[in-house]
């Protein structure tokens, strides 16, 4: 099918499956691997578009389901799409709203036709079909739009997983047919199939035939065992065509990002950095600081030495301790830092891939974060060993 993106691989790691690339989208270039912050409702948790730009963010997420409810399609059409609506001139990706059928299961009924949601706001019914999702996403105008998929929780097993996989393929066909703007918007397929390698293989085989501009790995990060999670990811990256961006949905913990890059994933998103900020948790290379804790009351250091975000340049942990969870700016300041941290991490990962020192970067990253080898998560050690990085051997 038609594509409105360019995918140029800049460098490949000589040890792992990691790669660095430039993804050129209608609203500018995106350096991959990339973490995409999530602005569900058309805004990123109190951060202004200018501030987000200054963290170096090149692409952010919106959610189709939420924007479809508010402000609604009519208003999105009236103002000319979500970029204009929220004054964000860089790239946008919209999720289809498929996942809300899991998170809002009590309010949703799934049939072959689509998903029927009960609006949590006024109780009215909204039928989200592949066609309706495409129509909404065409109105939103995101640079990347996701197919509507039949999502089941990754903890589900049995015939429902297979049913969802085949239905997702049928819905992909309907999405492709309904997509009105393939010249300016890129439709990504979403691989389903739960934790079953055979289903994943079948799904990939079918979906790759549809030749979408990019492909996502869906149905993960739902609380499944991490050791099963990474095996599905690496299976997918092995089977997916190398000439297209691979997006692993819902991944946002720092160690997950680093491991998944090693397994060959290019794009990530997660609400974690901004969500956890609301609770006063600041991310650093040495782990999370819970700034609500009394021990920070006399800590006159920035969150992270050397961090270039506004928060670290201007405020101490002691001050943040007094405002987190009390004043909105406490939330803004930590959201800003966490977003900056996450994007910086991805820049560092990317640079190390380009300079072909990614394995060294990974070793240092785990040492900084977990200190003792005994604290390294076993799944991460296993995953990295599968791509020739042995965290347990003494560093050369």
């Amino acid at each position: 099918m038609k594509s409105a993106l360019k995918w140029d691989i800049v460098a490949k790691c000589s040890t792992t499956k990691a790669r660095a690339a430039v993804l050129t989208l209608p609203h500018g270039p995106v350096n991959a691997p990339v973490f995409m912050p999530v602005g569900t409702q058309g805004t990123l948790k109190g951060i202004t578009p200018d501030q987000l730009e200054s963290t170096g963010c090149q692409i952010m997420l919106n959610n189709t389901y939420h924007l479809g409810l508010r402000p609604g399609q009519e208003l999105l059409d009236a103002c000319g799409g979500a970029h204009k609506f929220q004054s964000w001139n860089r790239n946008l990706l919209t999720d289809s709203g498929g996942f809300q059928m899991v998170s809002l299961l009590k309010l949703a009924e799934i049939t072959e036709e689509g998903v029927q949601f009960e609006s949590p706001h006024d109780g009215s019914l909204m039928l989200l079909t592949p066609e309706h999702s495409m129509s909404l996403q065409n109105s939103i105008g995101a640079d990347i739009m996701m197919q509507l998929d039949d999502v089941v929780s990754s903890l589900t097993s049995g015939p429902r997983v297979e049913e969802a996989m085949w239905r997702s393929i049928r819905w992909l066909d309907r999405c492709i047919k309904a997509h009105k703007k393939p010249d300016t918007q890129n439709l990504f397929a979403i691989i389903q199939g739960g934790l079953d390698p055979e289903l994943r293989k079948q799904c990939i085989e079918e979906m790759v035939k549809r030749d979408t501009p990019g492909i996502a790995i869906g149905g993960l990060s739902g609380g499944e065992e991490k050791d099963k999670f990474w095996r599905v990811v690496t299976l997918c990256t092995d089977l997916l065509p190398p000439g297209k961006p691979i997006y692993c949905m819902g991944v946002g913990y720092a160690e997950d990002l680093v491991v998944c890059v090693a397994l060959g994933v290019d794009m990530f998103d997660c609400v974690f950095p901004t969500r956890t900020a609301r609770f006063g948790n600041a991310l650093t290379a040495n782990g999370t600081l819970s700034l609500r804790q009394h021990k920070f009351k006399d800590d006159y250091r920035p969150i992270e030495e050397g961090c270039d975000c506004v928060t670290c340049k201007t405020y101490t942990r002691a001050y943040l301790y007094t405002v987190v969870t009390r004043e909105t700016i406490g939330c803004h300041l930590i959201s800003l830092h966490n977003t900056a941290y996450q994007l910086r991490l991805m820049r560092q990962v990317r640079d190390s891939v380009i300079e072909d020192r990614f394995p060294e970067f990974v070793r240092k990253f785990f040492k900084d974060l977990f200190v003792e080898k005994s604290a390294y998560p076993e799944w991460a050690v296993n995953a990295l060993r599968s791509v020739n990085i042995d965290l347990m051997e003494d560093s050369p």
Binding site: S103, S154, K297
Partner: protein, 532 residues
């Protein structure tokens, strides 16, 4: 050399006592504050604002802060505003383990709060509103910290001054936290405040201002011992020990002192407080109108009584006169400084101000005498499809270049997104500063009285805040409560997947405040009403 220099550039030649001036720091300072980080081709660059000369143009404003920050605005966004000063309330920033923990405090308050490029005024209580506190005594005043009511002694206050090193310090005063105090209470508050002021000013010179207190305490103790009977108190030979010799206190002559003038609603006491305070060596005066009961006119009269008995060559701050017409009336009486709690309150209500002072910039606005409201409420559904800025021609961060629209802000409010208040605060603060700018210009050009009259005629007066919550806001809150758990998952999982949960995160929403409690009551009331 006095720490502050107030010069009156122009005194209105018309009927009013309005004057145009500047308040500047006299000691040379060159401090820097990081303003923003911007991405450039070569990486990240910090923009740094140097403040060789810090000045507040008067009539003007000190930025109101909550917990040491301008509400909703991060340092970079805040610096898009053009105010020269900020005020910080001790009850907001002093932690329960302080001042003891001050030994570890490595810098002054301005650096701690990243406000180095502003003239910083430090007072004890929140300047925006009246909050009743328990009584004060001869030795302490009560204040409301986020950890609860706390007593602050003059000794502790002096420790704060020496650590915080503000540019301007409000005097330690016995503010009466009672809307209808008796004459005796008021007289006492004036007396106490004068005594404390003298002690404070001694300390500023490096003299031991607290000696008399210590002596009095010693005597009291001795008396207690005597009264409790010689039998129990073993005869101690140390009875003659003098009051502990005070370490020579460090002077803080670089700090200007603005003295509170008091007197509540009792005219004689107001006159006495003002005339007595005026005899002291202070750089300015503060009139706190937040605790004055009565109509706006009554309050202005009380302010006038104080002002009439204060020297005209020193700056005067007024708290509690926040709506633009109250500001104008106060300026006409000779007040120089206010605070920005008005734009803050508007923002909290979801409102954006539209008023302006003086002739309109644009010609078309003049044409018709369209009665425009002084503000619009962005919760109103009529804005949902208005893809226009909050105010035509406004140059604030939110409006400039049509960046953010009424429709977008309406959406942000309805979806409970925090950017709503960031954008509204940016706009309201900007327009408030424009208002003062135009006032200053009009005083220079002798048009202040005329424009003030025009303003009152055109924009009317601020309606009383009812405390009622906008019906749409109430609805949003209600549905948010209903699906609290579901929503948390849904809105946090915008992408197709489950969000990992951070350690120690609670399910409940974080910003639970008084407003919500008020809402709950209102909702209960609504639910009781028969549905239509």
């Amino acid at each position: 050399m006095p720490p502050l220099n107030f010069s009156i550039i122009r005194q209105s030649t018309q009927l009013s006592s309005a004057r145009r001036g500047t308040l500047a720091i006299t000691h040379a300072v060159s401090e820097t504050a990081v303003v923003a980080n911007t991405q450039t081709k070569s990486g990240f660059e910090s923009t740094v604002r140097e403040s060789k000369k810090r000045v507040i143009e008067t009539p003007g404003c000190l930025m109101y802060t909550a917990k040491g920050s301008v509400p909703h605005l991060t340092p970079d966004t805040m610096r898009l505003q053009s105010f020269g000063g900020a005020s910080v309330s001790i009850e907001h920033v002093l932690q329960d383990y302080q001042p003891a923990g001050f030994e570890k405090f490595p810098f002054n308050l301005a650096t701690y709060l990243n406000l180095q490029d502003f003239i910083l005024l430090c007072d004890i209580r929140d300047t925006s509103k009246f909050v009743k506190v328990p009584f004060n005594s001869d030795r302490y005043v009560s204040m409301v910290t986020h950890q609860g009511v706390r007593q602050l002694t003059l000794e502790d206050y002096l420790k704060c001054v020496r650590t915080y090193e503000p540019d301007v310090l409000a005097s330690f005063s016995d503010f009466v936290s009672d809307l209808e105090p008796g004459q005796k209470r008021v007289r006492k508050s004036v007396d106490r405040s004068l005594k404390w002021l003298d002690q404070l000013l001694m300390e500023r010179q490096g003299l031991d201002g607290l000696a008399q207190d210590r002596e009095a305490d010693m005597k009291k103790k001795e008396n207690q011992k005597k009264n409790s009977g010689e039998a129990s108190s073993a005869k101690e030979p140390k009875e003659t020990t003098p009051a502990p010799a005070a370490v020579t206190p460090k002077p803080w002559k670089d700090v200007g002192v603005f003295a509170h003038v008091l007197g509540s609603h009792i005219e004689d006491e107001r006159i006495r407080s003002a005339t007595e305070t005026a005899k002291r060596d202070v750089e300015g005066f503060i009139i706190d109108a937040t605790s004055l009961a009565g109509s706006k006119d009554d309050v202005q009269k009380l302010i006038k009584t104080s002002l009439d008995n204060l020297p005209s060559n020193k700056p005067k701050v007024v708290y509690g006169m926040q709506a633009p017409e109250d500001v104008l009336k106060s300026i006409a009486l000779g007040v120089d400084l206010f605070d920005t709690s008005y734009p803050f309150v508007l923002t909290e209500d979801g409102k954006a101000s539209l008023f302006s002072f003086g002739p309109e910039d644009s010609a078309d606005a003049k044409d018709e005498r369209i009665v425009e409201p002084r503000w619009i409420n962005l919760w109103d559904e009529e804005h949902a499809d208005k893809f226009v800025p909050l105010m035509t021609g406004c140059e604030c961060y939110s409006c400039k270049g049509g960046k953010h629209t009424r429709a977008y802000i309406n959406h942000l409010l309805k979806t409970h997104e925090m950017l709503a208040t960031v954008l509204l605060m940016s706009h309201n603060m900007y327009q408030y500063s424009r208002f003062f700018e135009n006032v200053r210009k009009s005083i220079e050009q002798d048009t202040f009285d005329q424009y003030s009259q025009d303003f009152m005629a055109r924009w009317g007066t601020e309606p009383e805040r009812t405390g009622e919550i906008h019906p749409v806001a109430a609805m949003v809150e209600a549905s948010l409560h209903k699906r609290n758990r579901l929503d948390d998952d849904a809105s946090s999982i915008a992408s197709g997947q489950q969000a990992p949960k951070g350690k120690g995160e609670k399910k409940e929403r974080v910003f639970v405040n008084k407003k919500e409690k008020r809402l709950k009551k209102q909702q209960e009331k609504l639910e009781k009403q028969p549905s239509q």
